[in-house]
Symmetry: C2
Subunit: 246 residues, 2 copies
């Protein structure tokens, strides 16, 4: 049998997990996939994921790969994997990738969605999938601020102060804010992201929506290259990794 490089798309409810990345003694998405797939294939498998999502963050389209030679036909692999995984994680597609496919370095972009609910009473059936923010938000202002973040900028201001990567130039192709009844969706697409970047953008847009700043302040914030100039960090459960582009 030849070793195959298998590209997986994975959806998960991050509520019960300490994020994607392995941490000794804690239940993580990556650790759960490794454990379940190792049982399925009868030996320890290595898995590499495109995005290290934080504790409580969700995914519809996380991408990962495993290199494996197995007698299990590719056509049966998805349902075999799903029968070994817990109900809050599911493989939504399996494809054979080129030999050198690398889910991190070959990614050309990612789509994240941040979800808010502004109803007076918390939505009990969606409370783990949104930021419940029961106040008035001006979504037109939020959307105008989002537009000012588009294109290529230095996003140091919107990265966690803990992110020490030198290069903080990123390109966002989309920062859209739209309302549907009590729900507000912030869709962010870009080439690469710094640590906490989408949650810092979402929190800052919320601060603008409630009037702490005007949309045009975004330009000055970007120029400051200082985390202290941006708004609050939005909580993790509102964030979902929708898709990774290749």
């Amino acid at each position: 049998m030849a070793e195959l490089n298998i590209k997986l798309t994975v959806a998960y409810d991050g509520t019960a997990y300490h994020g994607w990345a392995n941490q000794p003694g804690l239940k993580t998405i990556h650790g759960t996939l490794v454990e379940c797939f190792s049982r399925l294939f009868g030996r320890k498998v290595g898995i590499c994921g495109a995005s290290r999502t934080d504790a409580g963050v969700h995914a519809l389209g996380q991408t990962a790969n495993i290199c494996i030679d197995t007698p299990i036909p590719v056509a049966n692999m998805q349902s075999a994997m799903n029968s070994y995984l817990p109900k809050d994680i599911a493989v939504t597609s399996v494809e054979v990738a080129p030999r050198g496919f690398d889910p991190i370095n070959h990614a050309t972009g990612k789509h994240y969605r941040y979800t808010l609910n502004t109803a007076k009473v918390r939505p009990v059936h969606s409370i783990n999938y949104c930021w419940h923010y029961p106040y008035t938000l001006d979504t037109d202002k939020m959307d105008r601020a989002g537009r000012l973040m588009r294109c290529t900028h230095d996003f140091r201001t919107f990265a966690s102060a803990k992110d020490h990567r030198r290069d903080s130039i990123r390109t966002l192709s989309r920062v859209d804010v739209r309302r549907e009844g009590d729900w507000i969706y912030i869709d962010v697409e870009g080439n690469r992201f710094m640590y906490n970047m989408v949650r810092n953008i979402a929190g800052t847009l919320v601060d603008i929506g409630r009037g702490r700043w005007v949309p045009e302040d975004i330009t000055e914030m970007l120029e400051a290259r200082d985390r202290r100039c941006a708004g609050q960090l939005a909580p993790p459960q509102g964030l979902c990794l929708v898709k990774v582009y290749y």
Copy 2:
């Protein structure tokens, strides 16, 4: 202060609870409400709910009442209650009811919704709010069968064998089955319900949808007055008490 009879509408995610009704040593919706409201009002309060939902069953519009004299103004009561409740339970309305209002005996009807998902891959973010049934279901047949259950019948066949109430004549005004993409919704409205009645109806409609029986078999099932003549019991997490009518 005069004692008020307060009518509450309550929404909850039943996932983490052993149903509505109090059970010693187990976390229940009723027990949680009693505990939280007793802390809020500074003394033990009694709560009566319209429907004893099972473990894992959800509600958008459970109705309950408490009789209380308190200095807390009615206008502030909802937000006070919600600040004491856990995030998976919320009071969605508070009103002063007539002195003799009784949520069980004054109810004129209830609306339940049963939700199925037929996607090949389980919907990880909704897995606690539906029956994931990844097979083909003929919803036209299910809807036709539902129509045959409408109006007044003896529903003994669709009650749990454990329900020993003599009177099993009930009136259903609505048993609708509709599909939206991978989702199927079964809406059932009626005057009163026997134990497990909606879940037995949902399970039987699923059996009809996959071809075990034809819709017209419903008539014979009703006539049999025997639980063994109906289909499977649908799992609890697909069921939601939408509204109680008065």
